[in-house]
């Protein structure tokens, strides 16, 4: 089963193409890593999936239907949250936002919703900070708040852009264990990831990109191939492909 299906996707900022002709299927119930050097277009790929940037060409479908129809099944943790950090809001309320859609936009959150939010914070080890203003946290703590918010959304498809960046090792383990647990419940997880050493521990499949799709395979096959070195080199003209 495909969670995300991408066909001939090309994305450009202004006139500069960033992603060339990507064909990619992300399978349901897997934890997939998106790997590639800085500037490879990993974040851009996620943003295209979420329709934050408009592609020059190509089609994207989510659970074999449109993004719009599946918005309530998706949670997203951006690489760097562009939130209004000065907003008068406490950590707890940020996480509770993850429940808003299910609560309904015009209703009050119930005790159950608050419990879910609190538990998500607790899982991220942040229960001590619930009353802080969001900007009064460290970088890694902020990141964990947004992961907690995503957990609250009870999403089928979790899209995360370097969720482990700036997070300490202890929290990293907690986060990835949580992902494994979600996977057991049938959820699909896509993560941009930079640490090649932990690929095998955390991910089932790896998507290698550097402007174009270099390879997509099981983690084991990727690690046993020369694709990784290829992905981290300059994109060159490939004689065999031409």
């Amino acid at each position: 089963m495909r969670a995300i299906h991408i066909e001939d996707l090309t994305v450009a900022y202004e006139e500069n193409p960033v992603l060339w002709d990507i064909d990619l299927d992300i399978y349901k119930g897997n934890i997939t890593a998106i790997v590639g050097p800085n500037g490879a277009g990993k974040s851009t790929l996620l943003k295209a999936i979420l329709d934050f940037v408009k592609p020059l060409s190509g089609r994207i479908s989510i659970f074999d239907s449109s993004l719009k129809k599946n918005l309530d099944k998706i949670a997203y943790v951006p690489q760097r949250s562009n939130v209004n950090w000065d907003f008068p809001i406490k950590v707890f309320d940020v996480v509770l936002m993850g429940r808003y859609k299910e609560i309904g936009w015009f209703k009050k959150p119930s005790k159950i919703d608050k419990d879910i939010a609190f538990n998500a914070l607790k899982e991220m080890g942040l229960e001590k900070y619930i009353d802080r203003q969001i900007n009064e946290l460290s970088g890694g703590q902020k990141q964990r708040v947004f992961i907690a918010r995503a957990l609250c959304q009870n999403a089928e498809l979790l899209i995360m852009d370097e969720p482990l960046a700036g997070v300490d090792q202890y929290s990293e383990k907690i986060i990835m264990n949580k992902m494994k647990e979600l996977q057991k419940q049938g959820k699909t997880i896509v993560c941009v990831h930079h640490d090649l050493n932990t690929l095998k521990d955390y991910f089932d499949r790896v998507v290698l990109i550097n402007r174009y799709l270099v390879a997509h395979d099981t983690t084991e096959n990727i690690l046993n191939s020369n694709h990784l070195t290829k992905a981290y080199q300059e994109v060159g003209f490939d004689e065999t492909a031409a």
Partner: protein, 358 residues
């Protein structure tokens, strides 16, 4: 005077309820920009109605208020100019076009912002509908409209103001919400300019929410406090203005500013609080510092010796004695008789554990 006060308070609340969302979206200068750019709306409307007292002039003003924002959003979307810069580019443009129209075609008409929009609260009671001041009726209606908007769309406003990307994934049409907010701001501003004058409206929109923002970290309380602070400033300002027979708008704006200053000084992160807190913390901090020092240099005769410890802390003898004695009397440390160095007692160890907890 009671009616004047009522008009002013209603005005402050109608503007104040939208204030937090405007300031949080970094659009504080919008009302200032509006107070100029709407002249174009007035001039254009005048071309059609040729009547200085027509209500259409106000409607024209409100329309061009909205256009100002739409136009500057359009500019800033291309990322070539920043949001507030865009606003600063558009409103002089509109204003100057208006001036050109007026000086070219209506030289003999007394058409300027003062004529149409420089309301004076003192005159409010003279224009009446249903035996009430007209501006009171208008501003109260706008307050109710704005209040319902904020109450009904509270969560949507909150999410889209805090986190645009998240609101997109939540399926919120955040642009629609933004434009409704801007349209309401524009209409409210124009009506309020007409009732109480531009300077006061700018102050109504920004100052109370700036004060409230400094006092709470919860949006709901920010809004409630904004309304209360706005009303209090208005009441105090009006009384003072009446007592000394000075400009009401000026006095209220002045009081609002003072209020923001007080909030800056006295809020939890504010200056005064910091000074008090610092004094309180200083002593505890010194005590903890000694404990940590002893903990880190376990049993080091040089670092912890009775006579040498003060050199390592680089404190005067008086200072280190003062705190060491306090720690000794509190039973947090003791002097090891054999080696004559300081050691942590059980109580001291407890405190260290507490300190090192994250």
């Amino acid at each position: 005077m009671f009616e004047v006060l009522l008009v002013l308070v209603t005005c402050s609340m109608a503007c104040g309820i939208l204030g937090p969302f405007i300031t949080l979206r970094k659009l504080s200068m919008i009302t200032d920009a509006l107070s100029h750019s709407v002249l174009l709306g007035i001039a254009v409307a005048f071309i059609f109605v040729k009547d200085l007292n027509s209500v259409l002039l106000l409607i024209g003003a409100a329309c061009f208020g909205v256009l100002t924002v739409v136009f500057s959003e359009f500019l800033s979307n291309y990322k070539l100019v920043k949001k507030d810069d865009a606003l600063g580019l558009v409103f002089p443009l509109f204003f100057s076009i208006a001036i050109i129209i007026i000086t070219k075609y209506f030289k003999n008409v007394h058409l300027d912002i003062d004529m149409v929009l420089m309301g004076n609260p003192l005159f409010a009671p003279f224009m009446r509908v249903f035996n009430l001041p007209k501006s009171l009726v208008i501003m109260a209606t706008l307050f109710l409209i704005n209040l319902s908007f904020v109450l009904i769309f509270y969560k949507i406003l909150k999410v889209s103001t805090f986190d645009e990307e998240f609101s997109k994934i939540q399926g919120i049409n955040y642009q629609l919400i933004f434009y409704i907010l801007i349209i309401l701001t524009s209409i409210t501003s124009v009506a309020a300019f007409d009732s109480v004058g531009a300077i006061l409206v700018i102050s109504f929109f920004i100052s109370p929410s700036a004060s409230a923002y400094l006092l709470t970290k919860d949006l709901k309380y920010t809004i409630i406090l904004t309304l209360i602070i706005g009303a209090i400033n208005t009441i105090i300002g009006t009384f003072i203005a009446y007592k000394y027979n000075i400009s009401i708008s000026g006095t209220i704006s002045f009081i609002s500013m003072i209020n923001v200053l007080i909030a800056i000084l006295f809020n939890k992160k504010g200056l005064i609080f910091k000074i008090i807190q610092k004094q309180k913390n200083k002593k505890q901090f010194s005590l903890d510092l000694i404990l940590i020092h002893i903990y880190r240099h376990k049993e080091d005769p040089n670092e912890l010796g009775i006579s040498t410890i003060k050199n390592h802390l680089n404190w005067s003898k008086n200072k280190s004695d003062l705190f060491l004695i306090e720690l000794l009397t509190k039973n947090m440390i003791y002097i090891d008789k054999k080696t004559s160095i300081y050691q942590l007692s059980e109580l001291g160890k407890e405190r260290i554990k507490e300190l090192l907890k994250l």
